[in-house]
Symmetry: C3
Subunit: 323 residues, 3 copies
């Protein structure tokens, strides 16, 4: 594989078009922190499969369109080439492009919306990363969360932009404990796999396995922490009495998965202390997921990866000494 | 006019009272980024006319009182004299002073509230601009939005401070497309003019023309971008299917107008790239206006210029390279 | 007393266990800005009495457990020893530990939750103080407010974590002026005392007197400003027409008390200007308390000291020149 990658890298060096493709693949990889074209390609296939299996190939197309727009936008702004080539101006756009067709009724207006979202995601990335650079912290998926929240909220205000598959707008009601069943082994496995695939807004076990393969190509530690994070989230959410169906659908676990990978395998040197810190951060992210599920209820939007962003900033900004 | 201004400037140099008047006029001008006493005077007349025509002259008086309090407060805090003289500690106070009597039932308590709001607006301006200076960005109207949101929210908690004209407290409901009519030419013109006058919380065509005259005195480019922003906002909002009555009342367009002036004529060197950037930012502000209309619904407060602040920060903080 | 304190200090110097006790006592003292073990001890007794009198000794125990966990956590992260010894990594944990058993149904899960809250409070303190150091401002009780808000919100999402004593989830309704009675002298006194004890989430006059004693041990000016702040808050809230029962229960005054102490006796040199500034800040905090009471209504959580944090940041971040 090493030789294949070297050849790819050489080809990219001599072709601007291939270099652009490479930057976009790395952009997909960066959703889970992998600056690696093959990881990105595997993630892309995973999402393609998930969209196709769900009967909504437009989702994969939306992601692709928005990703390309975001990457192209970045090269028009004051952005370091190195950051663009590493895919740092792609992953938020890719997620915006998956989110809008996931939650909205398809229409011409929606496709224009996807393009606008791609531009906005790169503008937001530039701004948010400029601000957080002050404290040596990354923007994470905050640009995606902010832009997609605003654009999904706005669907309630514009008749031409319909949010057909958004969560129902509701009044906050404490969870009836009757919805928290004891966990069954089969549900556990599905919860773990869907927690991984829901990072890309998909509940699909095959996609999850492809995503894990992609992660492993980029970093074995990241793949391990992805699984650990998902398992921890499912167990914690169940133990705390979350709604069983949410847990099994992976909807309590996708943010904790990202926190686990970020704290366990990306931003700290591996070690016992860093591992303990990642475990606590992952468990805390499950609580934040519950809290934000409550906060978004009256507004009829999903939390997206807001819980991951909030919890991981909290655990990173102070730059704790863990080695 | 140049000679008149020179004479005024000389008079201000020899009289502290006139200098204070000058600072306050510039304070009104700064609502639309004009550090110019005549622009401020024309804005002041525009608002005076709008208040009188609406049968609520107390609004213009409230603005004046709060403006003077805000400017006087700033000179007691650790503020650069140059900033005060340029009106930077007036415009947020002026807007707070227009907002409180616009949305509240008049009473003695309300007038004390206006004075408190003037003091708080300058304290907030000092703090918020200190924070955003870190990234070379201005506070915009964030001090106004923050202080006025808090003070209007509080009217629901205090029986002696009644918010008679606040938006109804409601549950979020996706817009019924039946409320989005096709646009008629006459409505278009009214929508454009009211989008400009709503920057100062007024729906009045004569005020809008006076405001444009004031803008033109300060900067022709600013006046042009004001009109472009308003037209873009009305067209975008209609195309996306916003509630027609809101669009025609200027309530989807006042934040985009400010974004257009800020990005097109104030914070970037003119040019094709800056113009394109301003257009995208303006369109995005329309979406943010829709989103914040949804967010404020359960709380019974108006968005004020919150959408402008949020969108313009997003488009400014990364300091994109547009020349 | 000086000799007693000297002897205590010497004992701490020669025993790590006593030094840890000292850091924790100072942690309790820091809730009201007192880096003083005796102040902390008196506060501890005040809260112990309040919990016992309310038939809920678990609250005092929760505070103690969470405090110790928070202090111990800090020493594992990249924290200055001096900050830990001054109690700066204790006070947020102490408050989290009081808040969770105050609002939740007791259970084994709740006690694990208290431990998690202690860890999270120190992580949050490290992060938030790193961020606000940029502008020379302290984190105040923001770590407590953020962590406790998230954990209390999450009780609505998890059947195993029940928030039995949380405020009812409701729709915002403007206050019926019928609930704002004229103030009676006896109510005034109770309102003042309870405003002080509610800083620690207790409505208890004896606790309030013990807290004042503790404050006076640390700083006479702080004790004076505590009383001034409480009196100002009760008078302002009544004059504005707040719900009488809330005022008398101290629930409109605890944030203003903290603002008064912070602005009047801690962060500025004493003087007429600083005093005037503290008075305005305290009155403004009453308004912010009303505003946040409205904002939290649909979510069924208390404001905690959020109004203090927001208002005091607003009055501190610009570093106004008051001497």
């Amino acid at each position: 594989m090493k030789r294949l990658l070297d050849r790819w890298e050489r080809s990219c060096g001599s072709s601007r078009a291939l270099r652009f493709v490479d930057a976009n693949l790395r952009g997909i990889g960066q959703v889970m922190f992998q600056n690696h074209p093959l990881a990105g390609l595997l993630f892309f296939i995973a999402i393609g499969w998930g969209s196709y299996a769900a009967g909504a190939p437009r989702i994969a197309v939306g992601g692709l369109v928005c990703l390309v727009v975001a990457t192209a936008t970045a090269s028009r702004l004051r952005v370091d080439d190195a950051d663009i080539l590493a895919g740092l101006y792609g992953f938020n756009g890719y997620l915006v492009g998956l989110a809008l067709p996931t939650f909205m009724v398809p229409s011409t207006a929606m496709w224009l919306y996807v393009v606008l979202g791609g531009v906005a995601s790169s503008v937001a990335m530039l701004s948010i990363s400029s601000v957080f650079k002050t404290w040596g912290a990354p923007a994470l998926t905050a640009p995606f969360v902010l832009v997609a929240w605003l654009m999904l909220l706005a669907t309630h205000a514009f008749g031409g932009l319909q949010g057909g598959a958004l969560p129902a707008i509701g009044v906050v009601v404490p969870l009836d404990p009757a919805f928290a069943d004891p966990m069954r082994p089969g549900d556990f496995l599905q919860g773990v796999l869907h927690s991984i695939s829901q990072v890309f807004l998909k509940g699909n076990a095959v996609s999850a396995l492809l995503l894990l393969a992609g992660l492993a190509v980029g970093s074995l530690a990241a793949a391990a922490w992805g699984v650990i994070g998902a398992a921890l989230a499912v167990v914690t959410a169940h133990a705390a009495g979350a709604e069983s169906d949410l847990v099994t659908a992976g909807l309590m676990g996708f943010s904790p998965v990202l926190t686990a990978v970020a704290l366990g395998a990306v931003f700290h040197k591996p070690g016992l202390r860093a591992a303990g810190y990642a475990v606590v951060g992952t468990i805390f992210t499950v609580i934040v997921q519950g809290a934000l599920n409550v906060v978004v209820t009256p507004f009829g939007i999903p939390t997206l990866t807001g819980p991951f962003v909030l919890a991981t900033w909290l655990f990173l900004l102070g730059r704790p000494k863990l080695d």
